[in-house]
């Protein structure tokens, strides 16, 4: 049974990427959105509503990508600009 699991690792990898990586990306989006140039409540609400779309599209990407490695790479690539936008928010910079 362990051998079966080992053989399935690309699929398992994708499932992990989809469920957890996708959520992480969505969560990142919701934080990054706070840095948008608008009133904070509006920015938060915008990020919230967009996050689910990001999650769904991330899942689609993960299973549509040619290989599991590409799937992860895509997620990391998408996360980069979001992280950039999210850091100032976490550090509490600005209003």
């Amino acid at each position: 049974m362990l051998a079966k699991a080992w053989a399935r690792r690309p699929v398992i990898s994708r499932i992990v990427a989809a469920i957890f990586g996708g959520y992480a990306l969505a969560a990142l989006t919701s934080v990054a959105a706070v840095s948008l140039p608008m009133a904070k409540p509006e920015a938060v609400l915008t990020g919230l509503q967009l996050s689910f779309l990001v999650y769904a599209l991330a899942v689609i990407w993960v299973f549509g990508a040619r290989t599991a490695k590409r799937a992860w790479a895509g997620l990391v690539l998408a996360a980069a600009p979001l992280l950039l936008a999210a850091f100032p928010v976490w550090l509490g910079a600005g209003a």
Binding site: S30, V31, F52, A56, L57, F63, R66, V89
Partner: protein, 547 residues
């Protein structure tokens, strides 16, 4: 994104996996893993479009109302009752009857308790303001709450599970569209094939014609609980409760009770204040009246606008000084993102809808329920044809098959049993409202047991027939146990009761039709299993091609 013939095949994935194949697999897995809970959410959600009518039917002692009572007077009466029942409370909130709902409700803060127990609630007779003296029942609220809270677990758990399933559904919708090449053109060229193809056609048709609705209802469902699912942005942006209030005030008409002064002061009559709001919004367009610090000099009265005439739940309210009755604040606008959320939320609830629109909601939502059901059934139909030994299916197949029966056919039986229990349980029974719900689950569990013990096809037919029988006999039971038989409701123009019971008959007819067709269905003779695997239609072809 063609099948990469030159690419090395990845272990674990079939060679030459194209995007349509992978989306098809994703669609099937996503749908299957959460299908039964999703079906339950869809079915209880569908009937919740008639939540108020269900509640009315389940309180037959309350007479039919041909016009909603004056909100101002109802608010005054209930406030008077609360002044005796909840005098020490810092906040009373009164929900008013509407065209479709004939009761008043209220919740109030219990100053002695903390946390969840901090609020108490009750239902009240709009005519007298007194606590309702009718049979204790949750009415249509049970199906409504079950839809997103589930039951027998903390609402937090229930909502996480519901959200998880909703996310899977969103993925299923998107992957379903991608995998289906000519989705809209194919819609009109589907043909009712036989066997596996007809289930596929039914599933495709139900999915496509309601696609705007299905996408909207899933996405808006996630949005209704979005702060719970994605608290990160809000937590990062707001460090203090005061800062957070800037956002929550864009989402809810809840005005927290400020600090009381401690000085007593007589309150202005609630009716006067509500009348000011009625002048602005219409006589029957008041949803809620909340009184903060009643009897104190710092008393405030918040009158919340009703749902008619707009498709949004964004807060619109009038804030009055509780002692002088003067208008302190009029809130009628929120920012664009907040308004978007308000619109999505309203679209999900559909409470703004007039009768015809409400029926459209119901029908398309019912189609969505059938979409989930046909998808689940299709899984077993497709795999039954491939079973090496049809009399000894593998565990996964048996599991799916029996869960299908217990949910698709069993849930309607349980829901009908809930309505039966409302008429049969004795009035004075302790915890009567909870027992109606226990019976719902007991019957559902019995349906699961039945589905496991009987041969599959018999189980389908028996449960569908039972569901039809229970529904068709409900108006008969009602005629025997109450003073409001169907013929009297029709004669008196009580279309809530009459419409409800006729609707039950229509649903009974639907279940009966399904039962008859299942009983008549003769599975095709199994083809000789000597053909090469290439002759088997690939999943992509089956799901992707429409014709």
């Amino acid at each position: 994104m063609s099948a990469g013939k030159a690419e090395p095949a990845e272990p674990g994935l079939p060679k030459g996996q194209g995007i349509r194949q992978s989306m098809s697999d994703l669609h099937i897995w996503a749908g299957l893993l959460v299908g039964w809970i999703l079906y339950a959410m869809f079915l209880t959600g569908t009937v919740s479009y008639f939540r108020d009518e269900t509640s009315q039917w389940m309180r037959p002692e309350l007479p039919a109302q041909h016009q909603p009572p004056d909100s101002a007077e109802v608010a005054e009466r209930v406030a008077a009752t609360l002044a005796t029942v909840a005098a020490a409370s810092s906040q009373w909130s009164i929900g008013l009857p509407t065209e479709r709902s004939n009761i008043a409700s209220a919740f109030w803060r219990n100053p002695q308790a903390q946390g969840r127990r901090a609020f108490q609630s009750g239902t009240f007779d709009p005519a007298t303001g007194q606590a309702l003296q009718v049979r204790e029942t949750k009415g249509g609220d049970f199906f409504f709450r079950f839809h997103f809270d589930l039951h027998y677990m903390s609402p937090l758990w229930g909502r996480w599970i519901a959200g998880f399933c909703a996310m899977f559904m969103l993925v299923a919708i998107i992957s379903g569209v991608i995998t289906h090449k000519k989705i809209f053109i194919d819609f009109f060229t589907f043909r009712w094939g036989k066997g596996q193809r007809s289930w596929l056609d039914a599933h495709n048709m139900l999915s496509v014609f309601g696609l705007p609705f299905h996408f909207m209802i899933t996405y808006s469902g996630l949005v209704t609980l979005m702060l719970m699912y994605m608290p990160w942005g809000s937590d990062a942006a707001f460090k203090t409760p005061v800062e957070r209030q800037a956002m929550t005030s864009q989402m809810s008409a809840f005005v927290p009770a400020g600090k009381p002064t401690g000085t007593k002061a007589p309150m202005v009559p609630v009716a006067d204040v509500v009348r000011q709001a009625q002048e602005r919004w219409g006589r029957d367009n008041i949803e809620r009246v909340t009184i903060n610090n009643p009897g104190d000099a710092a008393a405030r009265i918040v009158v919340v606008r009703g749902e008619a005439g707009r498709v949004s739940v964004s807060p619109q309210y009038l804030l009055f000084d509780g002692v002088t009755g003067k208008l302190v604040e009029a809130k009628d606008k929120v920012g664009p993102a907040a308004e978007t959320r308000g619109v999505l939320y309203a679209l999900h609830l559909g409470r703004f809808a007039d009768t015809v629109t409400r029926w459209l909601y119901f029908l398309v939502s019912l189609a969505g329920t059938a979409m989930v059901g046909t998808g689940l059934v299709m899984w077993t139909v497709k795999r039954r044809a491939r079973l090496p030994d049809p009399d000894k299916p593998y565990f996964g197949f048996r599991l799916v098959e029996r869960l299908n029966i217990a949910s698709i056919a069993g849930l309607p039986v349980a829901m009908a049993a809930f309505l039966w229990s409302n008429r049969l349980l004795p009035q004075g029974l302790a915890q009567r409202a909870e027992w109606e719900i226990h019976l719902f689950f007991i019957v559902w569990a019995l349906m699961l047991a039945h589905a496991v013990l009987r041969p599959a096809r018999r189980a389908w037919v028996e449960q569908l027939t039972l569901g039809a029988a229970l529904l068709v006999l409900l108006p008969v039971l009602n005629a025997i146990t109450t003073q409001r038989p169907l013929w009297r409701s029709i004669a008196e123009g009580d279309w809530v009761f009459a419409g409800y019971e006729l609707g039950l008959w229509a649903l009974a007819a639907l279940l009966a039709t399904l039962a008859v067709r299942t009983a008549r269905h003769r599975p095709r003779a199994r083809p000789v299993r000597k053909t090469a695997p290439a002759a088997q239609p690939s999943a992509a072809a089956a799901v992707g091609e429409g014709a």
